[in-house]
Amino acid sequence: MTTTDLPPPGELPEIAVDPAAFRHLADSQVNVELDTGDMVLNIGPQHPATHGTLRIVVRLDGERVVSADPIIGYMHRGYEKLTEFRTYPQITTLINRIDWLSSFANEVPFIDAAEQLMAIEAPPRAQYLRTILTELSRIATFVLFLGEMGLQVGAITPAFYGFRDREYVLNLIEAVTGGRFHPNFNRIGGIKDDLPWGWISECRGVMNKVLASCDEFDDLVVGNPIFQKRTRSIGIIPRELGAAYGVSGSNLRASGVDWDLRRDGPKYLVYDELDWQVWTHPDGDSFARYWVRLQETRESARMVLQMLDQMPSGPLMAKVPRIIKVPEGEVFVNTENPLGEMGYYVISKGATGPFRTKIRSASFSNVSILPWLLRGVYVPDIVTILASLYFILGDIDR
């Protein structure tokens, strides 16, 4: 869309309310007590399909969902408040735990925000290492999804493949950072350490394995007729509505929106130096979300291979004062995390810690569309839709 597609300036026309967009709000007050009319089914807080402690109260008419109300907050840890009581280097430890599947990727936008406020730029080699580790976390997150999604529709085998590949990638991350899940490896101004000896050839081998197992997932899951029956035209997110709900990342690209912050956002890391492409799918259903993530896993593996070839040498840290005091200012930095748009709005008043941090996490908005999305679907499809949206509870509740 360009400017010319937009209506001309002048008085705004009457607001065009699409009743379909608000159909769930008419009775969003789900009766949590048992109702005599419809049946109320309480899914969670402990349920394998909810990846944590998400509770969904659904009202059923036979096998069809009349209304669904996600109840979140079981894992609310109050990170926005806690950041006001921590210094900048301490906060990276906290934000590692927001989306615990791709912890390294969480650190990047926050560190970037602090660096912008301090007018520091990390040296090129540190930028490359950050990009490599971000893409490795993306692969580790997605291969788990590729396996687990099969599990949700009854296929056991892909889950083992997914965990096997995730293990390869986690070993790589552990070899560099010392931490499998929470690396806490970013520093303001650069990165803590260099790669260990022999890591680059090891990483090349693993990336080739990942590419090979993507082909396996393609045969095993995407080509499987049962999988297709369970996911095709199930849980369709229209592109305009998805964007208005703030659905982001692969979920939005699966609805045909060609938008990836790595390419379209303000420059961060070294994505503009790489040769890669953004994948979209026009359908917007559960199948499309699986397909897009499969392609993005491949794309990430190729990006890592490229970066290993063209990695510059040089220092890992810029010149940073011993006590980190961030000048007064406000900055918003958002990045394309595995689960979607992750952003930090950091307000600094010149102290060693932020005055206020607004954390914009991907899963929160991705899940907020559930009341609309689950209306009218059948009970078994709830599970596939939840799995295909792919959220992490820590990322919803923060």
Binding site: I15, F85, Y345, G353, D397
Partner: protein
């Protein structure tokens, strides 16, 4: 203040043409444009962003409490765990009239790097603002969060109820005068879990007259 990105300057020019004097102040924030609008134009500015500027994507709605952070640790107590914030009330980019401010960010999925940060001031005695739910349905949860964390009331929101916290919860945790209770109950652990050396005051063995070996 760093200059505006080219796209942000375009967005600002369009917003100024559409909203006119509803814009109180605007400023740049590291390339992005921060626009502070009058409270009665809060929803109109959302519609202008969505329908005229093509910002079809709602990133977030949040709040800010500009009250100075109350001191947690007493001065000279050695507790350096909490950053010392300035004691006077100052306001951030594009300013503010009072303590409470509403903050939102909208983006375009069709134009590169095209995004607008919107702010509006809420007077202390009347924390009402128009709801964005009819413009961006995704505002539903964000406004519930701002309602429970700051006590902002959104007129036109279909059901303002607790999102994260239990329904009987009282208070607004993200306001600056709401204490971080974990710190009140237990001081910074790095400060207290130190056993005194033998012979130092506080060492039980020595006080009992026992052998300090």
């Amino acid at each position: 203040m760093p200059a505006l990105r080219e796209q942000a300057a375009d967005a600002l020019a369009q917003l100024q043409a559409e909203l006119g004097d509803a814009i109180v102040e605007h400023a740049g924030a590291f390339g992005d444009v921060v626009v502070r609008v009058r409270r009665d134009a809060w929803r109109r500015s959302a519609r202008v962003c969505k329908e005229r500027l093509g910002c079809d994507y709602l990133s977030f709605i949040g709040g800010v409490d500009w009250m100075p952070t109350p001191a947690v640790a007493e001065e000279g107590s050695g507790d350096t765990s909490t950053p010392a914030q300035p004691k006077e009330q100052t306001y951030g980019t594009a300013g503010s009239e009072g303590r409470y401010q509403l903050l939102a960010l909208v983006e375009s999925t069709r134009r590169k790097s095209w995004r607008v940060i919107l702010k509006t001031d809420l007077p202390d005695d009347d924390l009402h603002a128009e709801s964005w739910v009819a413009v961006y349905p995704g505002a539903d949860w964000h406004e519930r969060e701002a309602w429970e964390m700051y006590g902002f009331v959104f007129d036109g929101h279909p059901s303002l109820r607790h999102l994260y916290l239990p329904s009987e919860f009282e208070g607004h945790p993200l306001r600056k005068d709401y204490p971080l209770l974990a710190r009140e109950v237990k001081p910074w652990p790095g400060l207290v879990d130190v056993e005194p050396m033998p012979g130092e005051p506080g060492d039980d063995d020595t006080e009992d007259g026992g052998e300090a070996t």
